[in-house]
Amino acid sequence: MTRGRGAPAAPEIASDAAVSVAALEEVYRDCYDFESREVHIGGDVRRKARLCFIDGLVSGSDVAEQVIKPLTDPERFGAVTDAKSVIAMLLGGSVYVYTAKSRTKLGELAEDLLNGFCALIFDAERTAVTFEVKSQQRRSVEAPKEEKVVKGAKDAFVETMKVNTTLVRRKLRNAHLKIRQYKLGSRADTAAALIYIEGFTNEGIVAEAERRLSGIRTEGALTSSVIEENIVDNPRSPFPQVISTERTDKFCMNLLEGRVGILVDGLPLGFLAPGTFSQFMKVPEDHSGHFIVASALTLLRYFSVALTLLAPAFYVAVAMYHQEMIPTRLMQSMIEAKQQVPFPTAAEVIMMLLAFELLQEAGIRLPSPIGETVSIIGALIVGQSAVEASVVSPVVVVVIALAGIAGYTMPNQDMGSALRLCRFFLVLAAIGFGMFGVALGCALLLYHLSGLESFGVPYMTPFAGSEGRHLSRALLRHSMTDKKDREPELKTGDGGEAGL
C-alpha cells in the first residue's frame, strides 16, 4: 500500500494495554462511536485483553460471534496461560475471522479500526491483533442510471471500493490484472486503487498514474473532481481528460485497450486514463449493436458536436453580419418574425441560451418527476409563449433548441458541459466579429484541444498528433470479426495489434 503525501505519522503503541488504550483513546478522543471493553481470555478474570472497535464500521454480531465467543471459551483458551501463546492461537485461526493481523504500532492499529477491524490489545506484549469484521451495510450493485444500454451488462459501480474491484476482477479473470491500493487525503484517508494489466498496459502510463496518485495533495478524496483535477495534465481546461464511467463493462473494455483504471472508495465511478477526445464520443452500446449502425451513430455524435457548438454562433453571425448567406425566402421569414421582437438578435440568443441553461439546471436539481414537469413547462413557456409574446423570434428558439438537443447526444456529461461553455464563447465571438469571430473561436478551440495531453497521449489523437490511417478507428466502429489495431499512442505491450 502506498500512502499519499500529508498522511499522519503513526506513533508507536504503548507498553501496556491500558496505556495503549489511552493512546488510542487520545487518537479517538471525542469520537462517540469509538468503543473499548475488557475481554477475559478463556473466561479467566485474571487474563485480560482490551477489545477496541469503531461502532458502525464493524458488525456487532460478527464481533460477538466470531471474536468474543471463541476468545472467552474456557475449553479453547482455558489452558493457555501466556499472552504470546494466545496471540499465536489468534493469528493461527482460533477465532472465526478470515483476516487477522498482528500490530505493534499505534498508527497501523488506528488505521485498521477505520477500515472495519476490531482490535484485541495485549498490554504485556505491546501487541494488538486486529480482525476484519466489517459491517456489511452497503448499497447493492444496481443497474447503471446515467449510462444505460439496452443490450449490455446491468451492473454499475457502487460506493464500496472492494465491491468494485470484485466486479472488475469477475470480468477480467486474469492474474496479470493488478490492483494497487493507495491512501488519499491527509484527513479522510480515502482508499483508492490503481488497476492495470501487467505486461500489457504501457509501463510509462502506469508509472505516471502512480506518480500522480501519490502526489495528490488533498484533505479528503470525497468527490470525483478531487481525483480528476489532481491527475489530469491541464486542470484549467474545461474538457474532461480522464474518462469517468459507472459501467463496469466500459471500465474493463478500456483496461483491455491498454488504459489504467482508478477506483476510489466512496465514489460509484471508475476513472480511466488516458482520456482522448474520440473516446468521449463512444458509448458502450456501440459494442452491443451492429457495427454499421454504431458507426453511423458515432458520426452523428461528431455532427452533434459541430451543431451544438456552432449553430447559435453561426445564426448570430449570419443574422447580424452576413445576411447574404441566408436564402431569400428564409431571410424574408426571419425579417418578418423579427419585426415584432423588441430585442436585438444578440440579446435574443444570449437570453435563450441562459433560459436553456436555467431550465436544465432546474430539471437536474429538482426531484425526478418535478424536474420533468419543470422542463416541459419551461419548454412551453420559453418556446411557444415567448414566441407568441414576441419576446424572441421562432428561428432563435429553433436554433437554440437544436443546439441544446444536439448537446444532449454527448455520451459524457463533462464533455457536454465543456461544449456548452464553449458555445457561449463562440456566440460572444460571433456577436463581436461575425463569421470572422466564429472562425477565430473555432481556431482557438482547436488550438487548445490540440495542445492538450492526457498522460502523455495527445488529446485529439488520432485527429492530431497521429497517423491518418487511424482516423477510421475514431470515426467508425469496425466489425468485431476484423482484426483491428489498438490506439498506437497507448503503446500496449502486445505491439498494438488486437486479437480476434
Binding site: Q323, F436, G437
Partner: protein
C-alpha cells in the same frame, strides 16, 4: 496560449478588406430594419440613369418600390439604399436586374462594372433587357395586389426554359463572354397585355423577347425566337422545352428533354479548315396531339422524328447564319473548335476572325421519339427496338 490568442484577435481585427467600412462592425445590420431588394431596374433618364429597387421587408409584407435618378448607377444606388423610409436596403439578395433597351444599347459596361465592383451585389444576378419600353414601367406593370414583380421576374427563368425561348445569363457569364469573345448574349423580355388569370396580379405579363447580341457599349442585334432556340441548343444551355411539330393532319406537341450537341472541325490535308460539322441528338417524348394520327405506327413516329429534326435543324442553321451576319461569333464556335482540335486550329495559318465569316457550317440532327405515353406503348426495357408492341405482335402472328 495567451499570446497566441491575443495575436489571433489582433489579426482578426485586421480582416477589414471584406468590409466597406473601417472594421467588420460596419457590416452590422438590424435584421428587423432590413429591406430585402430582389429586383433592380436601370433605365436611361435626363440626369443619366433612373435606378429602381424593388423588395420587401418580410414575406407577408407588401412589396415596396423606390427609385431615384442620378448621374451614375453607383452614386444613385448609394443614395437609394441609404435607409429608404428608415430601412436599410440590402442588395445581396437581388435575383434579377432589368435594364431598359435604351440604356443597354449604350451603357451595358457600366451596369456590369457596378455589379462587379459593389461587393454586396452577387455576380450571379440575372441580367435582362427590357425591349420596347423601360424596365421601370415593366416592373410597375407586373406588380399586382398580391403578386410582387420580383416573383414574376424570378419565375421567368423557368418559363423561358419550358418555352425554349432563351436563358437568363448572369452578370458574371455576360461579363466573361464580353471579355473572351467581345460580345455576349443577354435575355430580352417585354411586357405583354394579356387576359388576367386572377385579379390580384398586375396588368402586364412578362414575356421572353429573344436575345440581344451585345457589345460592351452597343447592342449589335437581336435574335428572334427561332434563332434563340438554335442558340440555346448549340450553347448547351437548353434544358427542356415543348415544340409543336406537324405530322400528317395532326400537330404533335413534343417535349424535347435531352439534347447533345457535338461540334467538330474538318480540316483539309494541307491543314486548312474546311468546315465545321454540327451534330445534334435530340430525345423527345410525345406530350399531346391535336388531330388524328396513329402514334403506335412506326411510320408516324418516323415522320414525327423527321419533323422534329427539321425544326431543330432550321433553328440551329438560323443561329449559325446570324453570327457571320452580325460579324460576331456569339456562339463561340472559335472557342469550341479550338478546344476540339487545338493544334490543328493553331496551325491553320489564318486568324479565326478571318475564317469565321466564310466558314461553311453543316448541321445534322437526329431525333428520337422515346415515348408516346400511349397505354399500349410501354417503355422498352433493355433498349429500344424497332416497331411498336402492336406491330411486333402482328409481325410475330404473321410469321407464325
Amino acid at each position: 496560449m495567451k499570446k497566441a490568442a491575443l495575436l489571433a484577435l489582433a489579426l482578426s481585427l485586421a480582416l477589414t478588406g471584406c468590409s466597406p467600412g473601417l472594421t467588420i462592425f460596419s457590416n452590422y445590420r438590424h435584421l428587423e430594419m432590413i429591406e430585402l431588394v430582389r429586383t433592380v431596374t436601370v433605365d436611361s433618364s435626363e440626369d443619366g440613369v433612373l435606378v429602381g429597387i424593388y423588395g420587401t421587408a418580410g414575406e407577408e409584407q407588401e412589396a415596396r418600390m423606390y427609385e431615384k435618378s442620378g448621374p451614375s448607377i453607383g452614386v444613385t444606388m448609394n443614395e437609394l439604399t441609404l435607409r429608404p423610409l428608415g430601412r436599410e436596403a440590402i442588395l445581396s439578395h437581388t435575383e434579377n436586374m432589368l435594364i431598359g433597351e435604351d440604356l443597354a444599347k449604350t451603357r451595358l459596361d457600366e451596369v456590369l462594372d457596378y455589379v462587379e465592383r459593389f461587393s454586396e451585389m452577387r455576380l450571379d444576378t440575372g441580367l435582362l433587357i427590357v425591349r420596347d419600353g423601360t424596365a421601370r414601367d415593366l416592373v410597375f406593370g407586373l406588380a399586382g395586389e398580391e403578386t410582387p414583380a420580383s416573383d414574376v421576374v424570378a419565375g421567368l427563368d423557368q418559363n423561358i426554359a419550358r418555352l425554349g425561348r432563351g436563358y437568363v445569363f448572369s452578370c458574371r457569364e455576360i461579363a466573361a463572354s464580353l471579355a473572351q469573345n467581345g460580345c455576349a448574349l443577354v435575355q430580352c423580355v417585354r411586357g405583354e397585355e394579356e387576359e388576367k388569370l386572377f385579379e390580384k396580379r398586375g396588368d402586364l405579363n412578362l414575356a421572353p423577347a429573344g436575345m440581344a447580341v451585345m457589345r460592351p457599349d452597343a447592342a449589335v442585334g437581336f435574335l428572334d425566337d427561332r434563332e434563340t432556340l438554335g442558340t440555346m441548343l448549340l450553347l448547351g444551355r437548353f434544358r427542356s422545352c415543348n415544340l409543336d411539330i406537324p405530322v400528317d393532319d395532326a400537330v404533335f406537341t413534343v417535349s424535347v428533354d435531352k439534347i447533345k450537341p457535338d461540334i467538330e472541325p474538318v480540316f483539309s490535308e494541307d491543314g486548312r479548315l474546311l468546315r465545321a460539322e454540327i451534330r445534334l441528338r435530340a430525345e423527345a417524348n410525345l406530350v399531346c396531339m391535336d388531330g388524328l394520327a396513329d402514334v403506335r405506327s412506326r411510320d408516324v413516329r418516323r415522320q414525327a422524328e423527321e419533323a422534329l429534326s427539321q425544326t431543330l435543324r432550321s433553328a440551329c442553321e438560323a443561329a449559325v447564319r446570324r453570327g457571320p451576319a452580325l460579324g460576331l461569333d456569339f456562339l463561340d464556335l472559335g472557342g469550341i473548335l479550338t478546344r476540339r482540335a487545338p493544334l490543328a486550329m493553331e496551325d491553320m495559318g489564318r486568324p479565326w476572325e478571318e475564317v469565321f465569316p466564310t466558314l461553311p457550317v453543316t448541321v445534322e440532327v437526329e431525333s428520337v421519339l422515346m415515348r408516346t405515353y400511349d397505354i399500349i406503348d410501354p417503355p422498352e426495357i433493355g433498349g429500344r427496338e424497332e416497331g411498336t408492341p402492336w406491330e411486333k405482335l402482328t409481325d410475330s402472328l404473321r410469321d407464325s
